[in-house]
Symmetry: C6
Subunit: 76 residues, 6 copies
């Protein structure tokens, strides 16, 4: 991938950090399967499978650990 | 998602922190499958499958690691 | 859940910390499936499935990471 | 469980720490299924299943993270 | 493996760090199965299986935790 | 196991650290199934199963987190 999509892990709010964690999780998939059409085709079975949804949430949780630490947990 | 649902990781007690970890885990699912009706339909098979329940508990554990660190483990 | 079950992550000994990690792991399940009868019914197949037992041990390991860090690893 | 099996996370060497991580992993299983006879019966299918062996190694890795941190990585 | 492929965990940007995390994840596979031909043959079924893609993203997330910590999260 | 195989987590380079992480991952398997013949027999199905290869890479990633932290990420 040649586009720039990640220049910082710092976000203003924890919610933006959570959404960045989602972006990181999706990019992890996209680097492995860059073909959007294939990803699109997989989506219906994916989004209707509770195990898949929990697994997605787990990857987000791992990436949120990283983003939260980077932001020193948005402590005031 | 345009609503604000996460403004801080700081909670008064570890139990509230654990409950925030549950919220984060569910949001991770909801960002991937925003359709509440689908989620509702998946619930019965989900909540009666021990592997799914353990997987859910695992995601909560990961998010609780983040929330607990953010709160400096609620040390006095 | 309205009862108070988690007021501190601090324990006297690492073994008590490990047992707290087990409590956290079970609570993660219970928040997702609060019906004790269902949980009771799932138990036999669960406790006789080696993959399930390893998965349970994994969740305990994650929660023990949190509890151990909270207690500064019970270093003297 | 009423016996005392874990009084410290500190070990002399990283190898002893790794072996403690194995003990923690097995205890996680044993708290969930305390019946030794059942565990014994599950062992053959377990120890001949590569996915189960990798999963066991994963739990050990998680517990080794905890033990290694407790020992400050046995840095001299 | 005798070639040198990893001399530092430090990268200029978080995106380069994420790409290093992908390299680490692929190397973890390659050390276990060094035969490129086998890996090539496995690829089609792999890249079309949503569970496999999520699992890949999870390994990347774990390695990104390491790389991000090494780089002190690219904080300015 | 009575042989000494782990005396330090410190390595000269990140690549040696990654290779130590692989050793730790394999040892985790070997402590659970010490019979080399069984492990040898499991290898073909293992090394040709993409899910197994990803799972192996995940355990390596977890152990690499430990080794990298021990080495303070080989920062200069």
């Amino acid at each position: 991938m040649t586009d720039t999509w990640l220049t910082t892990l710092i976000t203003d709010t924890p919610q933006q950090g959570f959404e960045l964690a989602i972006t990181l999780s999706r990019r992890g998939v996209k680097y492995t399967q860059p073909d959007s059409e294939v990803l699109h085709k997989l989506r219906p079975e994916y989004a209707n499978d509770h195990a898949a949804l929990t697994a997605a949430s787990q990857v987000i949780a791992l990436n949120f650990q990283t983003v939260a630490a980077a932001n020193n947990y948005w402590r005031k």
